[in-house]
Amino acid sequence: MAILVGPETRLLIQGLGRDGSFQASRTREYGTNMVAAVHPGRDGQKFEDEVPYFSSVARAVEATGANTGVIFVPAPFAMDAIIEQVDAGLELVVCITEGIPVLDMVKVVAYMKGKPTRLIGSNCPGVLSPASKAKVGIIPGNIVRPGNIGVVSRSGTLTYEAIAQLVQHGLGQSTCVGIGGDPVHGTTFTDVLELFQADDETEAIVLIGEIGGIREQLAAEYIRQHVTKPVVASIAGQSAPRGKRMGHAGAIITGKAALASEKIRALSEAGVHVVESPTQIGAMMKEVIG
């Protein structure tokens, strides 16, 4: 079993502009079961002559039994799209959109409290499980291999880097999860660690963190108490100066806890194998699991 996605995934895509349509094609090529596309005004038409369009998420869910949603709608409308998917009762919502106002995400996360839907993102590459050919998001399908390493990351392309290094060392992945680079986001490191710990298919975990916030420290505390599987971690931004936002809205050193060195210390103290250089992720994992 992978986590979050799998053969049972019935995917709905919302937002089929240039990027959304491109990614929808890649997702289908990879073998994901895409059952619905939501784009107001296109009822009766089909994406790539096969996936039916609907004008609302609720209609799409009713007609197709979609259980997972992926969002590509532009940032000004993304909060609305997330709430629409939550209200339609989807189990998993993955929001790829970048640049959503923080106060919108603050409202979204508050709105979702107590509701059964899980949100991944925003501003994330999504989730991919190689063994079940389930891809929800933009992680390139041609770089992953089926296997037993769980990957969780705040970054996009640095996640691809980690995956490539694992593959280079003959290590495949159970599931790859990008939780996103925004300061306020849905699923956290801790949530994904809990899922990987419980997942039979996952033998070891790669965690990619970065400067900003205290989520890596919370992950370290969770690992110390609950995770028995080996964890290899890399923290980006060791050379970043204080007070400057490094692209991701969440990647800014605002206080001592936000420093890479503090995160590395917390993770090391929790027994995590923290690599000194981001070039060593694959090699370290190979060494750790033998």
Partner: protein
């Protein structure tokens, strides 16, 4: 996006937050006239996007309009170098002339988003006028924090709790409570990422006044605040950062580095800066060209790196998912030809159309060392740095 103090004051005024009587001047004569209107002792404050103005000589107390004119004249048209600016400093194009108050107590108040709580948080401290980060590190118990509710806002009782924690006089309790709730509305209504009042003062006659104001607006939310977007002052920005903004590139100039970095994705860009440092040289910049950059943006990104006089070598690290390596390669070659670039480059390209990208670069005649991956790029960079005369 940063805005000036006088612009922040205008926003506070609109929300009824008490501020000192003040006006902004672009010339020394205007400064004199304003000082006459206000009367008595006034303060002349350089309007720049940087903290540490006082210590850098950007804030002057004067007793007469003539002195105000003289100090304003001395500041206007100069560049102010503070601990928060680079050595080049920032231009002083306006000064604010403000009344002075009889101050009994200096307090601190700010609002930021706490990503870990997922809500705006009001931070208050009795240590006004101090660098709050120092207070946070040395005496965290002196910072009182209250989170607003994402859907309800900040309740009056929470605001009153903060006012009580600040120990304001009983006569000022009601006004301070109102000031805090008003400030919270400033934050949420305008999509701020920071509202900071340092110091918030209690006067001898028990009024609470925002003596200084710093507001940072969230770039991602400016689309719904066109009036605020117009407050942008590009002259306060590093010229290269300003060009990057115009091209919608995520770029941060880093002081003292010599390796120009061009990467797709923020996390990978940080990791690339990290390996640069390990290879023995400081990165000259952070640059994320984004996922779907077209050739024009790639060209501008490359030119920005080329125009950075500190850059001696360029490191390109691309893991193309949405982006296409061939387009990036074409952009690099076009920009290099146009600028007649001779700098050595280390290039790692992987992902979508990476082979085609490598072919384009290989046939370009540019001084390029191709690397197979991140580790290879680190190794190649190390060699190149040795050729250039060693690590720093």
């Amino acid at each position: 996006m940063n805005i000036h103090e006088y612009q922040a004051k205008e926003i506070l005024d609109k929300y009824g937050v008490p501020t000192p009587r003040a006006e902004v001047a672009s010339t020394a004569t205007e400064a004199k006239d304003i000082a006459s209107r206000i009367g008595g002792r006034v303060v002349v404050k350089a309007q720049v996007h940087a903290g540490g103005r006082g210590k850098a000589g950007g804030v002057k107390l004067v007793d007469t309009p003539e002195q105000a004119q003289k100090e304003a004249g001395a500041l206007l048209g100069t560049r102010l170098v503070t601990k928060q600016t680079g050595v080049a400093g920032v231009p002083v194009e306006k000064v604010m002339i403000a009344e002075t108050l009889d101050i009994k107590d200096e307090l601190y108040l700010s609002i930021v988003i706490d990503g870990d709580i997922g809500a705006p948080v009001v931070m208050a401290s009795t240590e006004g006028g101090m660098d709050i980060e120092e207070v946070a590190e040395n005496a965290p118990e002196k910072i009182f924090r209250v989170a607003g509710d994402p859907l309800i806002g900040l309740t009056t009782y929470h605001a009153r709790d903060i006012a009580l924690a600040l120990g304001v006089p009983a006569e000022a309790l009601r006004a301070t409570t109102k000031l805090i709730t008003d400030l919270y509305r400033v934050f949420t209504d305008n999509d701020c990422s920071l509202v900071e009042i340092n110091p918030l003062v209690v006067t001898e006659d028990n009024r609470v006044v925002a003596l200084d104001a710093k507001i940072t607006l969230e770039d991602d939310a400016l689309f719904r605040h066109p009036d605020l977007a117009r407050l942008r002052d590009g002259n306060q920005q590093d010229p290269l950062e300003r060009r990057a903004d115009a091209a919608d590139l995520s770029y941060v100039k880093l002081d003292g580095g010599r390796v120009g970095c061009m990467v797709n994705g923020a996390g990978l860009a940080m990791a690339t800066m990290d390996i640069t440092k390990t290879a023995g040289a400081d990165p000259a910049n952070f640059l994320d060209i984004g996922g779907s950059a077209d050739q024009e943006r790639i060209e501008e990104a490359f030119k920005i790196i080329m125009d950075d006089e500190d850059v001696e070598i360029i490191l390109v690290n691309l893991f193309a998912g949405i982006a296409r390596a061939d387009i990036v390669a074409q952009g690099i070659v076009a920009a290099a030809k146009e600028t007649n670039a001779q700098l050595p480059m280390v290039v790692a390209m992987r992902g979508t159309n990476a082979e085609e990208g490598a072919r384009i670069l290989g046939e370009s005649g540019l001084n390029i060392t191709a690397a197979p991956d991140l580790a290879g790029a680190a190794e190649a960079l190390k060699h190149k740095l040795l050729e250039l005369g060693g690590a720093n």
